[in-house]
């Protein structure tokens, strides 16, 4: 269960419209390293995660990613306010406009709509945490690339905030990985698969499970 709060996690007040930039920033919403994939990734991984101390982390970070979705959407919305026909026609925003007018729709910078292929939920703690750490780093790079594309401080400020959050999340997932390692055989971190379904495996081989 979630509760909506009528405030952004980071304020967005953009004065100058820039439809070209809006089209690129949409990738932070529904692109391969976007917030929609991030939120879905963590919130879906929670259920099979055997360690409660990591379930809580996935819940909290997954929820924060929903805040980020709203911040990104606010940036896009404000960058496309009061556009003239000429501004739409002349910018790279024209293709998006043709399909969605000014509706918010999660697409990548290259125009692909959001796909759940962008994230994985493998049901294995180590696999999933590695996936998450990689995802945070990829998103950080994406924000750095976006920051290079604009010189509007009003746009850069929230993008920098979002970039910093990726770094903090990476740190927390790194700590989560440490927690999982502590649960494993210290001589065999990676050889031992903590989510391996022993019961099913033994039954498959005709052996009695414990």
């Amino acid at each position: 269960m979630w509760t909506y709060e009528k405030k952004l996690q980071f304020p967005v007040n953009i004065k100058k419209c820039d439809p070209e930039m809006a089209r690129l920033i949409l990738t932070a919403l529904g692109g391969p390293d976007g917030e929609m994939g991030a939120s879905n990734r963590y919130l879906h991984q929670r259920y099979a995660m055997p360690y409660p101390q990591i379930v809580v982390l996935l819940t909290d970070i997954g929820s924060e990613e929903m805040n980020h979705m709203e911040v990104v959407s606010a940036i896009v919305r404000q960058l496309t306010r009061n556009l003239s026909s000429k501004q739409i026609q002349d910018s790279g925003f024209n293709a998006f406009y043709t399909d969605h007018t000014l509706g918010m729709y999660p697409v990548s910078a290259s125009g692909d709509p959001f796909m759940s292929h962008y994230f994985q939920s493998k049901g294995d703690p180590i696999t999933d945490i590695h996936e998450n750490m990689a995802a945070e780093q990829k998103a950080r790079t994406m924000y750095e690339n976006l920051i290079r594309m604009t010189d509007d401080d009003d746009v850069i400020r929230p993008l920098e905030f979002l970039r910093q959050r990726e770094i903090v999340h990476y740190q927390r997932f790194g700590e989560a990985l440490e927690i999982i390692r502590r649960e494993l055989d210290c001589k065999n971190y990676y050889a031992f698969n903590p989510a391996y379904d022993k019961k099913a495996s033994l039954e498959d081989r005709g052996l009695e499970s414990k």
Binding site: E5, K6, L8, D60, E70, E178
Partner: protein, 269 residues
């Protein structure tokens, strides 16, 4: 509206909290001294190298937290009676704040004082020309008024029938459905307050993520409590002055403001 009233008619909350003679809530006081549950003992196998001392020990050593956070119960230096918290708190300084008799205060404990005046300290000048302390409907002590008032079933105010149309409210964003436009000073204050709330909200979230992987860091736990309390106060003030932050914080005296006050992505923060 009647069917909603039917659904919530019975005073079940009262039954659960106040009128259950067979059950003593003090028996399940999680903070009771007699309880030998140490929440850190079992759960601190992982703390990423941080200290594993008990939070209670830390608080006691540091002279208690009475002033800093809301859980007086946990602090032995505080003479707060836990069982008393279900009843009215005689120490509540409502009288000083609102000039009303203390026993009108419906607060259930010291820190969550919901006396008329603290609520109405955020008086709505627009509607109450003669100042604060007019309303009683926000008082959490619902014994003071009847069922219909509680659930607004016969409320005289109906947003749909108000003079201004619903869409007019939407146009007049900053007024948030009010009849009078906010002056520039008020707008600035609103912006500042919202910004402060965002800062505290962020500090709290950051602490939450840290605590997820360092659950026994007593300094972080203490910081969490302090920030949470500050945030709750400012959120209350904001909702009083400018409109709801969540759909549970609507002051129905101004109609269904949840729908009318501005959305955060509109660039007014």
């Amino acid at each position: 509206m009647n069917w909603i009233c039917l659904l919530v008619d019975a005073e079940q909350e009262v039954d659960i909290v106040r009128n259950n003679d067979d059950f003593d809530f003090c028996d399940i006081d999680r903070h009771n001294d007699d309880c030998d549950f140490d929440f850190c003992e079992d759960d601190c196998e992982y703390n990423n190298g941080y200290d594993r001392r008990r939070i209670g020990d830390y608080d006691r050593r540091n002279g208690g937290d009475c002033d800093d956070y809301d859980s007086r119960r946990r602090d032995r230096d505080c003479d707060h009676d836990d069982c008393e918290s279900h009843r009215r708190n005689r120490d509540c300084d409502c009288e000083e704040r609102c000039g009303r008799e203390t026993d009108r205060c419906g607060c259930h404990d010291h820190d969550d004082c919901r006396c008329h005046d603290r609520e109405d300290g955020c008086c709505h000048e627009n509607n109450h020309d003669n100042g604060c302390c007019e309303r009683t409907a926000r008082c959490s002590d619902f014994r003071d008024f009847n069922e219909d008032e509680r659930f607004g079933c016969n409320s005289a105010y109906d947003a749909a029938q108000s003079e201004d149309s619903w869409f007019d409210h939407r146009e007049d964003d900053d007024c948030c459905g009010r009849t009078r436009e906010l002056c520039e000073e008020e707008r600035n204050f609103k912006r500042k307050l919202k910004c402060r709330i965002q800062v505290l909200d962020f500090a709290l979230l950051e602490t939450i993520l840290f605590l997820d992987t360092h659950p026994c860091d007593f300094e972080a736990l203490r910081y969490y409590r302090i920030i949470r309390k500050k945030l709750a106060r400012l959120e209350k003030l904001y909702e009083c002055k400018f409109g709801p932050l969540t759909n549970q914080g609507v002051d129905t005296e101004f109609g269904w403001e949840w729908a009318t006050c501005p959305w955060p992505w509109e660039g007014k923060e």
